[in-house]
């Protein structure tokens, strides 16, 4: 029985991101799975494990994704598992896949997040439908008052401003840095719109005080996929550096935000990060590049504090002056993140894929020189479920 770090991300793939409403979800799912296999140097026929959802279909397929995929691959799968942590599911899935591979339950596990077609609920291609579906994620005790996903995070930001003097200009630093990263990524949704300034963010429409439009993630469709195998297999194929899972942790927090002892720190997010760092035996100052859940700019501030990269209330000053840019003290969300790269479906997969690319030294113009150790978080809901991982170039 192997250790977690004996498993590696062997293959990654990202489709076009944006409006995929004219494409079929299943077609995009297969494109992503095939792309990740090609990147890993294996065939679809080699897949013997699935984490998360298979391609959309009819009947039981969505309830028995393993069976649904096995039927189409023409051989039995040896493993299926699924995490229910919203946007955090793919990062939680990476841990499940690594366990399957190191415990001998599968040799090649595929994880795919694919959103395309008309979509339903919060994956709808129609913006108003998507916003309304996300609004109801707060649950009936709150959505009756007209909450939105933006408002769910705005109340965290408002309290953070009050307790620590965090400012809208500091939040804007996150949006500005990540937009610049997106301009350097050919697949990003917003990169072709060019850089933005702090004033652009502050002058963008207020959506829910104190969050402006550019403090919010984009709404789009797209796909991403990862293949997990043993690290030794990646090394023997020799296509690229193996990126291994050194440490992983979760923290499941609450459903009602009023169940959090405080809205400015999240014990469950700390738990996830502390578990991951402890397992990896890596210090915070050894992290070269990070991907922090950024559904809203305040998410990065909270994420920095909860993960222990700075003290409580210090997130605002951490991001000032390009602190999370490519030349900053900790480059974060170097693809542009959910704010500027992609926020499609279980979008945590894109955060992880970018860190994998950085650790492989395949970041092109976005490359953080010599990156060897990365940290990734993924958050489901409004600070409700947390996953954290330490990844390293083997």
């Amino acid at each position: 029985m192997g250790e977690l770090h004996e498993a590696a991300v062997a293959g990654i793939y990202q489709s076009e991101q944006g409006d995929l409403s004219t494409r079929d979800q299943a077609e995009v799912w297969w494109e992503a799975a095939e792309g990740a296999c090609r990147d890993a140097g294996i065939e679809l026929a080699d897949i013997d494990g699935l984490v998360g959802n298979g391609p959309a279909g009819i009947g039981l397929r969505s309830h028995m994704p393993g069976a649904g995929l096995a039927e189409q691959l023409g051989h039995p799968l040896r493993f299926h598992a699924k995490s229910e942590t919203g946007a955090g599911s793919p990062l939680a899935g990476l841990n499940l896949a690594a366990h399957a591979v190191t415990q001998g339950l599968a040799d090649a596990v595929v994880i795919v997040n694919a959103v395309a077609g008309a979509g339903e609920g919060y994956t709808s291609s129609d913006r108003d439908t998507s916003v309304a579906a996300m609004a109801k994620l707060s649950g009936p005790y709150e959505y009756v008052y007209g909450t939105t996903r933006v408002a769910d995070y705005a109340v965290f930001a408002m309290r953070h401003f009050y307790e620590f003097g965090t400012s809208s200009a500091q939040l804007a630093e996150v949006a500005v840095a990540q937009r610049h990263h997106a301009t350097l990524h050919p697949l990003s949704v917003t990169g072709r719109r060019g850089d933005i300034t702090i004033d652009d963010v502050l002058e963008s429409p207020m959506i829910a005080d104190p969050l402006h439009l550019y403090d919010c993630c984009i709404i789009n469709q797209g796909a991403g996929a990862m293949i997990v195998t043993k690290a030794t297999q990646v090394a023997s194929l020799g296509r690229h550096a193996a990126v291994v899972l050194l440490g992983y942790g979760e923290g499941h927090s609450h459903l009602d935000p009023n169940s959090m002892p405080s809205m400015t720190d999240c014990p469950a997010a700390k738990l996830a990060a502390d578990t991951a760092f402890g397992m990896a035996a890596v210090r915070r100052d050894e992290i070269d590049v990070a991907g922090l859940a950024d559904h809203f700019t305040i998410g990065v501030i909270l994420g920095l504090e909860d993960a222990g990269f700075c003290g409580p209330g210090e997130g605002g000053s951490f991001v000032e002056g390009g602190g999370i840019g490519l030349d900053g003290h900790l480059p974060i969300n170097t693809s542009g993140g959910h704010l500027s790269f992609s926020h499609a479906g279980f979008c945590g997969i894109f955060t992880a894929i970018e860190v994998v690319e950085q650790l492989r030294h395949e970041g092109g113009e976005r490359q953080v020189d010599g990156a060897r150790v990365g940290f990734v978080t993924a958050t489901g809901g409004a600070q409700q479920a947390h996953a954290a991982a330490v990844l390293a170039r083997a």
Binding site: Y145, M158, P210, N258
Partner: protein
């Protein structure tokens, strides 16, 4: 704050509330707000829960509240979740720390959004939105 016919109310109404949580909604309808309070340790439970987060006891009594608290945080919504809410824009959402020591979230009534401040005292008022459903809102004291 006017009551309309059940079928013509276009904002979101509570859906999927288990029968064990209905006493909260019934207390709003009776204009006598009550939340669960642990029979063993006295901890208030809101939103309603099956077990006490302090002592895991599953026994609770629907206890009355002072209805008073102070604003812990708030936001002003300027992009609505649906057309029915858009006519109210801009509107506030408040999370208040109740005098009993736990927090509750709701909209506001007769409260100027420009007057909102963290720490401001508020009290609960009732809003009979349909014959079957009453919501609570925060207003100034």
């Amino acid at each position: 704050m006017t009551t309309v016919e059940e079928g013509s109310y276009e904002k979101f109404l509570p859906e999927g509330i288990p029968s064990s949580q209905m006493p909260f909604w019934e207390s709003l309808r009776a204009h006598d707000i009550r939340v669960q309070r642990c029979d063993r340790c006295g901890t208030y439970r809101y939103h309603p829960k099956d077990a006490c987060p302090s002592c895991q006891s599953r026994k609770a009594t629907w206890a009355p509240l002072s209805g008073r608290g102070t604003i812990y945080t708030y936001t002003v919504v300027r992009r609505a979740p649906s057309a029915a809410y858009a006519s109210d824009l801009p509107y506030a959402l408040v999370h208040a720390t109740m005098d009993e020591g736990f927090r509750m979230a709701a909209g506001v009534a007769e409260l100027n959004i420009n007057d909102l401040r963290i720490g401001m005292p508020v009290r609960i008022v009732y809003d009979d939105v349909t014959p079957n459903w009453t919501l609570f809102r925060f207003t100034s004291t």
